[in-house]
């Protein structure tokens, strides 16, 4: 699956996009666990519920199943307009 990071999240991950494929990742919660392990500096932001998640360009607040061709975006609160 394709993961996208925005704003200061990508300053932590050092990537804007990455492809993550693991049989362990079946849903969004699995992905979160995987990402926290890969980027320990992100953990505190997960804990504070600051991060937003979008799956295929839609906001997702609960856990949902993920497919191999999904696009998942992780970003901080928006500040456009």
């Amino acid at each position: 699956m394709k993961i996208k990071y925005f704003a200061w999240i990508k300053d932590i991950t050092k990537y804007e996009n990455e492809e993550i494929n693991s049989e362990k990742i079946k849903n969004l919660d699995d992905l979160k666990t995987f990402i926290i392990k890969k980027y320990p500096d992100l953990e505190k932001h997960f804990d504070k519920e600051i991060l937003r998640f979008a799956v295929n360009q839609e906001y997702i607040v609960k856990n949902i199943d993920l497919n191999a061709n999904d696009e998942i975006a992780i970003f901080p609160p928006v500040s456009g307009g």
Binding site: Q57, F75, P76, V78, G80
Partner: protein, 138 residues
């Protein structure tokens, strides 16, 4: 009409283009947002506005559809810029076209509320010697 672009735009021309597509538009309410020269008492030189473009389109489409369910609207225009923007530059234009003022006014405000809350843009503000991501915990 939704436009996500780096370039500046001429509001008069953009609004006229939409207006000319329709008959009996009596009211156009617009909001223009600009880069302010200070924020939280810090002097801003410019901003870099990052966008998740595909998602911004889909969010804007959704917001416009919801506005059209709630009000009698002839058309809506959203132009949102991204990239490096100097102080005093336009960031966003939202215009609501309708027969009557109330519909255009309320829907324009509604669209701006949702845009602020849901549109995937992030401001990185440049000050004299450093820069900072704008964090919006609303």
């Amino acid at each position: 009409m939704i436009k996500i672009q780096k370039e500046d735009f001429n509001s008069e021309e953009e609004i006229n283009k939409i207006k000319d597509l329709h008959e009996n538009v009596g009211a156009v309410s617009s909001f223009t947002g600009y880069v302010k020269n200070k924020n939280n008492k810090k002097k801003v030189k410019s901003i870099n506005l990052e966008v998740y473009e595909e998602m911004a389109y889909s969010q804007f489409k959704k917001i416009i559809s919801e506005a059209k369910l709630k009000w009698q609207l002839t058309d809506c225009l959203i132009i949102h810029r991204y990239g490096e923007l100097d102080v005093n530059s336009k960031i966003v234009l939202v215009s609501s076209f309708s027969e009557h003022r109330k519909d255009s006014f309320e829907s324009c405000n509604f669209i701006m509320d949702y845009l602020k809350k849901d549109a995937p843009f992030w401001k990185n503000e440049f000050y004299d010697k450093k820069n900072e991501w704008l964090i919006n915990y609303s």
